[in-house]
């Protein structure tokens, strides 16, 4: 699915990623954990194609393509989806209009016909149920006036609508109460299949009670410093990140 090799990246002259390597295969769920400022969102932004970052070294292959050579929308058309840590508001643009445009642009890029209104609305009805999103929110302006939890659920709703190959979820759990967390996790689990994969970025272990990862990675100082299974997350919860930091320095 995706292969990230020795990725180095700067922003404003400051090196944030310092040789990150990660491979994700179809059917897998990877969790990336790490302290604040470790570079988790940076990684997500770079994968999605945000251009403030300067890639100084390394390569990323996604579905056989050289990801770093593609534009943001081309990456999206190939099936890369980013659930934003801070979803953006677009006043005056309804969620449904936004999604229909997104779906049709993707279809167009693949040489397919636009989706019919009927098919689209049926899909909206079906997918909004997965995240228990009030159908009213579907017709409201994109994220405008949504509560924090609604914004995050809306991200998962969009993910369901766009049906990506690889979903990167950037702290989708932060700011959620336990019910919202459960709903978001249910969404992610429902959408999981043998053909797709996800990278779940999180700060806390609790999301991983609901979304069971195949691998847990610790990102620290721009690198993956430790990889394990679900138990690693529990260990981190218990001991914090300091022991990892120490271990890394010793190593």
């Amino acid at each position: 699915m995706i292969e990230i090799k020795n990725l180095h990246a700067n922003i404003e002259g400051k090196e944030i990623l310092k040789g990150l390597t990660l491979t994700v295969n179809a059917g897998e769920v990877h969790a990336i954990m790490g302290p604040n400022g470790a570079g988790k969102s940076t990684l997500a932004s770079i994968l999605a194609g945000r251009e403030e970052y300067e890639i100084t070294k390394g390569e990323v292959t996604f579905e056989g393509a050289d990801l770093l050579e593609l534009s943001t929308e081309e990456r999206a058309h190939l099936g890369l989806f980013l659930a934003f840590q801070y979803p953006v508001e677009i006043p005056g643009v309804s969620n449904v209009n936004f999604l229909r445009t997104a779906i049709n642009e993707t279809r167009d890029a693949k040489g397919e016909d636009p989706i019919s209104a009927k098919e689209f609305m049926a899909m909206v009805r079906e997918k909004s149920k997965i995240v228990e999103l009030d159908s009213k929110l579907a017709s409201r302006s994109v994220n405008e006036g949504f509560s924090g939890g609604e914004k995050k659920r809306n991200e998962i709703f969009q993910m369901a609508m766009l049906n990506p190959k690889l979903a990167v979820l950037d702290e989708t759990d932060s700011g959620l109460d336990i019910d919202a967390l459960r709903i978001v996790a249910k969404g992610v689990n429902t959408l999981k299949s043998a053909d797709n994969a996800s990278i779940v970025i999180t700060h806390y272990q609790r999301l991983l009670d609901y979304i069971v990862p195949d691998f847990v990675h610790v990102l620290h100082d721009g690198k993956i410093v430790k990889t394990g299974n679900k138990d690693l997350a529990l260990e981190l919860e218990e001991k914090g990140y300091d022991w990892i930091k120490e271990e890394t320095q010793v190593g």
Binding site: A48, G49, R50, E51, E69, L70, S71, T72, E73, E74, R75, A76, H77, F81, L82, F84, P87, V88, E89, I90, P91, G92, V93, N97, F98, L99, T101, A102, I103, E105, T106, A109, S141, Q158, L162
Partner: protein
């Protein structure tokens, strides 16, 4: 790939061409250039006008000679040379068309190029269109249906001939010829325009629409529109404008007067796309327009405008809220690009008790353009418990364009309630990135964001017109993918 930045947008926007830059080969009849009493007499006699109207024109001309051009607006331009303008240009066939089939095919083609196909509009929406090309109305439709209801919708010249007492009663009562320099000029030399009268209690069953277009070179377009909605009536009136691409500046100085009698409602919508000049600021239309409406008791006037054209725009559709409980509304989108300059806004004059006004203005500036909102809210002594809400938003597409807001408030009644909100924002990188991450191209993303930003205004337009306006906005912001 190349990331989308405002600077790139700026560059891309400069490359967009005016879509309506063509000249139709309709033979026109013009009169000698220049402006003096003889020219005015000539115009009046060509139009076989009654004596009182000639007097009115000459009177206005005398007043005009004593006035000087206003210069308080936030615009700079080379003043038109009024001596070098042809004040009358009419398509040569003077025959009036009985039906749509009789209309010159060339002219139909012109209309098709305008983006709104009249035929399609007629078929799909039942819009009655009064098409004003170079100042003379050449096609009116659906007249007989309107006639059954007693609705008068015709060219101004025809109204002068057919309904002189109505024209004489109302013309110049809302925008007197002494009002301002351009209103005086218009009153002296206007060639045609539209006239509309809705009788008591009648709800006009279709949108009435006029298409204005400047075609001949070196001509000024001075049309007058007069809409009178009698007690308890309703009308929705649409006005669209385009002009071909020419190097010299063309002058457009129109006057629009609306009168909403007791309990009546007038909705007046404009989509203005006059030629804005090229990317170096050469050519383009000077659009100096006086639009004003008067509301009697419980009446309502709503102005909606989408302005994307003209080199210089100077325009303030206003409402005089004379009657108690009357309502005035102003919804505006003004896009400026390259070297365009717009100084536009509204005046809400509250005279009656419990009068209410709403102002929603959305400015979008790109290129090196200057976009100003200028609005006056005036609450007079007797306007007890009057209310105004104003919201003026500006969206900037580049670092070197300008957005300015000049809200004036004059309040003489302490029971009035006035609210004013203003925001200025730059088109958001975050919004663009969010759209692109979902697979939406830059061009579509800009169009989505801009349309979303203008939604409150676009929502006020009749459906078909709103679609055209959205297309126009997209054209104005087209070509943004490098």
């Amino acid at each position: 790939m190349g990331q989308y930045t405002e600077n790139e947008l700026a560059k891309d926007l400069e490359n967009q061409d005016y879509k309506f830059g063509f000249v139709t080969d309709v033979e026109t009849e013009t009169i000698p250039v220049g402006l003096n009493e003889d020219i005015i007499r000539l115009i009046s006699s060509k139009k076989e006008e009654p004596e009182w109207l000639l007097e009115y024109r000459l009177n206005a001309f005398k007043t005009w000679l004593t006035m000087s051009e206003p210069n308080w607006a936030h615009v700079r331009y080379k003043k038109p040379e009024f001596e070098k303008i042809t004040y009358y240009a009419a398509p040569k066939q003077t025959k009036k068309y009985e039906s749509w089939d009789d209309v010159d095919p060339e002219m139909k083609e012109t209309m098709a190029k305008l983006g709104i196909s009249l035929e399609e509009q007629k078929r799909l929406t039942g819009v009655a269109v009064d098409f004003v090309m170079d100042s003379v109305s050449v096609a009116t439709s659906f007249k007989s249906k309107l006639k059954e209801l007693g609705i008068i919708f015709c060219s101004f010249s025809e109204a002068v001939q057919e309904y002189p007492e109505l024209v004489r009663e109302h013309m110049g009562t809302i925008v007197p010829h002494t009002d301002n320099f351009y209103a005086a000029l218009n009153a002296a030399v206007f060639t045609d325009g539209s006239f509309c009268y809705i009788p008591k209690g009648v709800r006009c069953p279709m949108e009435l629409s006029t298409y204005f277009r400047i075609n001949a070179g070196g001509t000024g377009q001075f049309e007058r529109t007069l809409v009178v909605a009698d007690e308890g009536s309703y009308v929705s009136y649409l006005e669209g404008c385009t002009a071909p691409q020419r190097d010299e500046n063309q002058l457009h100085a129109a006057v629009v007067e609306l009168k909403a009698l007791k309990d009546a409602e007038i909705k007046y919508s404009t989509v203005q796309n006059w030629y804005p000049g090229d990317k170096n600021g050469v050519g383009g239309v000077f659009n100096f327009v006086t639009k004003r409406g008067l509301c009697e008791a419980n009446a309502k006037i709503s102005w909606t405008q989408v302005e994307t054209g003209s080199a210089v725009t100077w325009k303030y559709p206003s409402c005089i809220l004379k009657g108690d409980h009357s309502v005035g509304e102003f919804y505006s989108v003004a896009v400026t690009n390259n070297h365009q300059q717009a100084d536009t806004g509204t005046k809400m004059i509250h005279l009656g008790k419990h009068t209410k006004s709403t102002i929603i203005s959305k400015g979008i500036s790109a290129g090196d353009s200057q976009n100003s909102y200028r609005g006056l809210v005036q609450i007079h002594k007797n306007a007890h418990k009057s209310r105004n809400f104003s919201q003026c938003d500006s969206l900037l597409m580049t670092d070197h364009c300008g957005a300015h807001t000049f809200p004036y408030i004059e309040c003489q009644n302490p029971s009035a309630q006035i609210e004013h909100e203003a925001t200025t924002s730059k088109i958001g990188e975050d919004q663009l990135f969010y759209c692109k991450q979902r697979g939406i191209s830059e061009e579509k993303a800009i169009s989505l964001i801009v349309n979303g930003y203008c939604k409150e205004v676009l929502n006020q337009l009749p459906m078909e017109f709103a679609v055209e306006a959205q297309k126009l906005l997209a054209i104005s912001l087209e070509g943004s993918v490098g």
